[in-house]
């Protein structure tokens, strides 16, 4: 049983190693083409400056961004954790709802209701609006 487990994950591990080496290999190969002068490389100061509109850049690299993104990130953390809690419940639902009946449904329903209260609060506060 344990051997089966390791067999499957060993293949996933090998696959990960190859999957990482393929894009790295592509970049290295493309770099090698530069050394044998197949790929051009004529760097200039203007070419390597940040792109703004095709002319010489006038502004700084950094700039502010909307605070809204933080609200969405915070909401994401809350509701993604909720999603994670759903999975073990869902995986055992068919078996355990036979044993516990509606109780097993209600226990999750109460949890979802509490989280949804927070969601309604966020909506009413206007955190879901994009202005």
């Amino acid at each position: 049983m344990l051997k089966d487990y390791f067999d499957h994950y060993a293949i996933i591990g090998f696959y990960l190693a190859i999957a990482i080496s393929v894009p790295i290999g592509m970049i290295v190969l493309s770099k090698l083409a530069q050394f044998i002068k197949v790929r051009p490389s004529n760097p200039s100061k203007l070419k390597e400056s940040m792109y703004e509109c095709g002319m010489k850049p006038e502004t700084e690299r950094w700039q502010g961004f909307n605070i809204k993104y933080y609200f969405y990130a915070l909401l994401f953390v809350i509701f993604d954790v909720e999603t994670i809690f759903l999975f073990p419940w869902a995986a055992k639902y068919g078996i355990w709802s036979k044993e516990f009946g509606l109780m097993f449904f209600l226990s999750m329903f109460v949890f979802l209701a509490v989280v949804t209260l927070g969601y309604v609060y966020a909506w009413k506060k206007g955190d879901l609006e994009w202005n």
């Binding site: 487990y5 067999d7 499957h8 060993a10 293949i11 996933i12 090998f14 696959y15 990960l16 190859i18 999957a19 894009p23 790295i24 592509m26 970049i27 190969l29 493309s30 770099k31 083409a33 530069q34 790929r39 051009p40 490389s41 004529n42 760097p43 390597e48 400056s49 940040m50 792109y51 703004e52 690299r61 950094w62 700039q63 961004f65 969405y72 990130a73 909401l75 994401f76 509701f79 993604d80 999603t83 994670i84 759903l86 999975f87 419940w89 869902a90 995986a91 639902y93 068919g94 709802s97 036979k98 009946g101 509606l102 097993f104 449904f105 949804t116 969601y119 909506w123 609006e129 994009w130």
Partner: protein, 405 residues
């Protein structure tokens, strides 16, 4: 999760390498040469061979998809599409790949060098990782891990990190705006995606992808249409495809987080996006179109392939049909629409299964009917609630003709 040799493709090659006693019935040719006590060598060789095949198949699949998408979009728009290189323009993506390889690589001076290089690699790697866990046929799979659903959802969410890294490391204001927008969108759509996947898990009773397919008597797309629609929309958004391609809105953000990328690094982003379409379609087929199941006069792998191509065609159809959404429309669709719809789907499904734990044929039919009623009702109600926010100003005939409002 049974032994790895349940997989037909694995066992076939393994038994032609290893001299194990249990292998003799599988062997067709007597060419095995590795003794039984060195079985780890035959295991590794087999694994690497199939990994090689899978990764190359994925890359060739991307070339086919690029060609197919451009041809199909051409047909949709009543033009020819690529037709110069090879028969029907089949070699156009190959020419594209060679061109991308030999373009000049420009590294902007303001960029953060290490992260700038890591971002495109991180875009491609997670997409590759989806292919080994999908069951392609009754006995055709590479691995069959017991947490497949969670694995797939976790792996697909890594690309938001790559997008943020690319946007931040380029040192370009368009890139960082595009990157942050993309991450906000990807995060928002991950939630309805996860919740509707919980509906699939309830029906399957397991987190294993092969069990998801085994227990789908009625395809989930028919059994729980609400979950299917939310998952389809959410995965279109996760793929950054049209109509959710706000990050690459050329007219406002140049190319979003890819603005300062060139040559092979840009090629890797391109590769990652198209491969994600293929991988995501495979997930949708497994979750909602009952994977390899189908009448047995056609092999299960062919069923899977046919459904796979069909779902990819749906994505291409979306791209040809829908106009791009605004960022506020995208966010309100995710948070005010899809989130509740997916929750309603899970709760209705769970309630019905709590009432009928072992549904017979007629009960399954009633459950499907109730799901469809809930589908139309909730879409109607949420459409009514959200329509002023989603469509903005009321569209009149005048505004359509003259582009006003």
């Amino acid at each position: 999760m049974g032994p790895i040799r349940e997989s037909f493709i694995f066992e076939f090659l393994y038994c032609h390498l290893s001299l194990e006693a249990s292998c003799s019935s599988v062997r067709i040719l007597n060419i095995a040469f590795i003794p039984e006590n060195l079985s780890w060598i035959s295991f590794t060789l087999t694994a690497f061979f199939w990994i090689f095949v899978f990764i190359n198949a994925a890359l060739v699949g991307v070339l086919m998809l690029i060609w197919g998408e451009r041809r199909l979009i051409g047909k949709f728009q009543a033009r020819l599409g690529p037709n110069r290189w090879g028969p029907l323009g089949l070699f156009t993506p190959v020419a594209d790949a060679i061109k991308v390889m030999f373009k000049e690589d420009i590294e902007p001076t303001l960029s953060d060098k290490l992260i700038y290089v890591l971002a495109p690699i991180l875009m491609v790697v997670p997409v590759f990782m989806i292919f080994p866990v999908i069951p392609y046929g009754t006995k055709t799979f590479l691995t069959n891990i017991s947490v497949g659903v969670v694995f797939v959802l976790a792996i697909t969410s890594i690309n938001s990190l790559s997008v943020l890294m690319a946007g931040w490391a380029s040192g370009n204001r368009f890139a960082i705006i595009g990157g942050i927008r993309a991450v906000a969108m990807l995060l928002s759509y991950e939630i309805p995606m996860g919740i509707s996947a919980a509906g699939v898990v309830i029906v399957a009773g397991s987190l294993s992808l092969s069990e998801v397919v085994n227990n789908q008597v009625i395809p989930n797309a028919i059994f729980q249409p609400l979950g299917f629609i939310t998952f389809l929309i959410a995965s279109t958004a996760e793929l950054n495809r049209s109509p959710f391609d706000i990050t690459e809105a050329e007219s406002e953000l140049v190319a979003g987080y890819m603005t300062d990328y060139s040559s092979m690094k840009f090629g890797l982003f391109y590769l990652g996006e198209f491969m994600a379409t293929i991988a995501s379609s495979a997930i949708i087929v497994t979750f909602y179109f009952s994977g390899w199941r189908g009448p047995s006069f056609i092999p299960s792998e062919i069923w899977f392939l046919a459904k796979w191509i069909g779902v990819i065609a749906i994505f291409i159809w979306f791209r040809a049909t829908f106009p791009r959404l605004r960022i506020d429309q995208i966010m309100s669709l995710a948070w005010k629409g899809l989130f509740e719809l997916s929750l309603i789907n899970v709760l209705v499904l769970a309630l019905m299964i709590a009432i009928w734990p072992d549904p017979s044929g007629i009960q399954l039919l009633i459950m499907t009917l109730i799901n469809w009623v809930v589908f139309f009702l909730s879409i109607y109600i949420f459409g009514k609630i959200l329509s002023p926010n989603l469509t903005g100003n009321k569209i009149t005939k005048r505004s359509v003709v003259y582009g006003l409002d």
